[in-house]
Assembly symmetry: none
Homo-oligomer: 214 residues x 4
Amino acid sequence: MTKKVQKRDAEASRRRIIENAIALFSKKGYAGASMDELAKMSDLNKAMIFYYFKNKKGLYEAVMHEILQEIYEAILAENKLHDNPLEELEGFIRTYASFACAHPYLPALLLKELSDSGAVIPETLFASMRKLFALFSDILRRGEAQGIFHDVIPMVLYFTVLGTLNLMVTTKPLRVKAAQLDDIEVDTCAECDIDEIADYLIRKIKLMLQQEER
Amino acid sequence: MTKKVQKRDAEASRRRIIENAIALFSKKGYAGASMDELAKMSDLNKAMIFYYFKNKKGLYEAVMHEILQEIYEAILAENKLHDNPLEELEGFIRTYASFACAHPYLPALLLKELSDSGAVIPETLFASMRKLFALFSDILRRGEAQGIFHDVIPMVLYFTVLGTLNLMVTTKPLRVKAAQLDDIEVDTCAECDIDEIADYLIRKIKLMLQQEER
Amino acid sequence: MTKKVQKRDAEASRRRIIENAIALFSKKGYAGASMDELAKMSDLNKAMIFYYFKNKKGLYEAVMHEILQEIYEAILAENKLHDNPLEELEGFIRTYASFACAHPYLPALLLKELSDSGAVIPETLFASMRKLFALFSDILRRGEAQGIFHDVIPMVLYFTVLGTLNLMVTTKPLRVKAAQLDDIEVDTCAECDIDEIADYLIRKIKLMLQQEER
Amino acid sequence: MTKKVQKRDAEASRRRIIENAIALFSKKGYAGASMDELAKMSDLNKAMIFYYFKNKKGLYEAVMHEILQEIYEAILAENKLHDNPLEELEGFIRTYASFACAHPYLPALLLKELSDSGAVIPETLFASMRKLFALFSDILRRGEAQGIFHDVIPMVLYFTVLGTLNLMVTTKPLRVKAAQLDDIEVDTCAECDIDEIADYLIRKIKLMLQQEER
DNA sequence: CATGAATGAGAGTTCATTCAT
DNA sequence: AATGAATGAACTCTCATTCAT
């Protein structure tokens, strides 16, 4: 007879949880996020979180996997549009920047996680982050092989890019507030939008890589 | 009757608390750190924490103030040894790097705090961080005025430096582990020590700043 | 399969908490009552108190609302049985007295609350107490209008009635103990039951109100 | 040599503690009052409270003894000025009223204590209160013997007087607030001062006692 | 698939009280 | 007589998690 009176849509519930969890974890961190609050946000019973994700850590892993997968796919798609390392590098930075700006939870979550070596989820973070780094590293190595980049240490440069962009995104509110209170002595770049910053960063990174040291 | 190994030494107790708190907060973050655990670590009754610092937030503020003050003083001292922007910049980076390496709680705490715009202690973080940035900014501006640096945006470059160095420090365990598990496909720079990294970063930053764009 | 002795019966749990809370608050006062003890009394986990009442103050409000509502309804019901102010007044006093005797927590809670102007819950106490006073006041005013009561100040007389009855109830144990220890010098009325006292009070109040001053 | 550099005046310290304790206990009740706050108020080290009074209960006893002694002496002094029961009764009520008004902690403390049968300090309260009641009782008994009072139950009348006056004092703030918010429907006697109330009560008590029942 | 009731452990914080100086 | 440091127990309240329906 299959009553199906009410559409109990498992997939929809799951997604609602994940999406709210992304917001919550990025705002309050792992320890600070409460499953109670998450349930309320998601308009679902608390028990459902455990039904779908087993426990808090499991949910967190799902969240991290989700966002790392998303950014990876975005960057990979962009990467396929280009065929030389210089453009690929540009694309990488620009895509990461605009994605981070559109989804500011990403920098927040990533920095938190990286700031304690993935204390919560070493393996997951790990595997997911490696794919992204492998791509970045590969671009630089090929550029080096082609003689257009010099003196390359991919790991350091990777964190240079991620560090700069992530911090510019997460500190935005702080910098805006500083600008309001401050005499104009120091410029906190409160107005810059992320695309300008990405452009600037690209320009600078090029100078870094294309020059041989004197 | 000389040694007088005092049991009830306020200053000593206070310091023990602060020092353990630095370790604890940097390891577990603000929300994740437990005052109970801290008391045990410090070999003191839990109530003493509140006796000295009023509440958890007060303790956290004291901790952040402490570490930011320390790094600021270290950098300021170094800065006074030089008299031209280029050397000053080098000194800044090198000092920050070696301090961060010697006191790895600094990057951990800083990244956590910056990753949510100083959610816990906006004002304190703020004031303390500004002094450091003001110094950095000043170095670059003077360099620009003297025609040795070009196309300078201090805020972005500040986060480039801090982002790179902090992330290299906090991800060290992660990178080491990656190196063990991995086929040699990607180099996670597991062996590099922080001074080499600082050297590399300095070299690169110089290229960034001394060149005019082509 | 009929009886269904429910274990997880929300309404029952809630009631158990409220009822024990009434006893506890009336015995120890607001500050002196411990939620831990209440949980134990109620054979429930401590967290359930907060699940049902949000916090201690919320519980206290619920308690006060409950008892004030009960006494109000009892008196109102009695009031409807009469149609002249004299009888209504009698009914008011008698009902209050026997209710207070049957539920001795009422005087205890009321006196405590009134003794600091409703420090804990000004608004709630307020609204609930006003209804009762409004009824009392109305009775007296109508009596005055009909010329059977004279020189009426309802507020004072209200507290005369409540003060006398409440104190006679709450001091009962004290007075009994006094009677045991004492030589018969002073009569603490240890034997009187509350109905006699109510009768006496009614007699006296009548003399108060029906006479014009000489 | 008797250095006596600093006047460490024990008696003064003791008094400061007692006086602040009266205020504190009357405002927050026994359980709600904190020795920490008391020490701060008294500008003394917390340990001194225990030096002078052994423990919280001891202090509370001292406080209750103090205020009951004071009111007893005030009333006794007044009583000696009169030589007939009617005037003595008037004096009792009037003195209690004005004392209670001048020292509003008395009603607050008394009602709290009486509202749980002297849970904290049965014996002390007891002994002190009995002297006062014995005086009141004696006045009435003599009046009855002289044929000017009729149908006397001292215990009840005692609480009638104390109940009325104490409640009028402690509820003053509540009644004032009610007067502000309310439409004029009910008169909470917010303006009456305590002497008017005492006069009114005396008038009414006289009617109570001088009449034989009809 | 979904709910609300229940739990036990632990959170931060305050308490009365004592110790050493 | 007076202080500040220290304690342990208790406090209110929140947490992640599970059970019964």
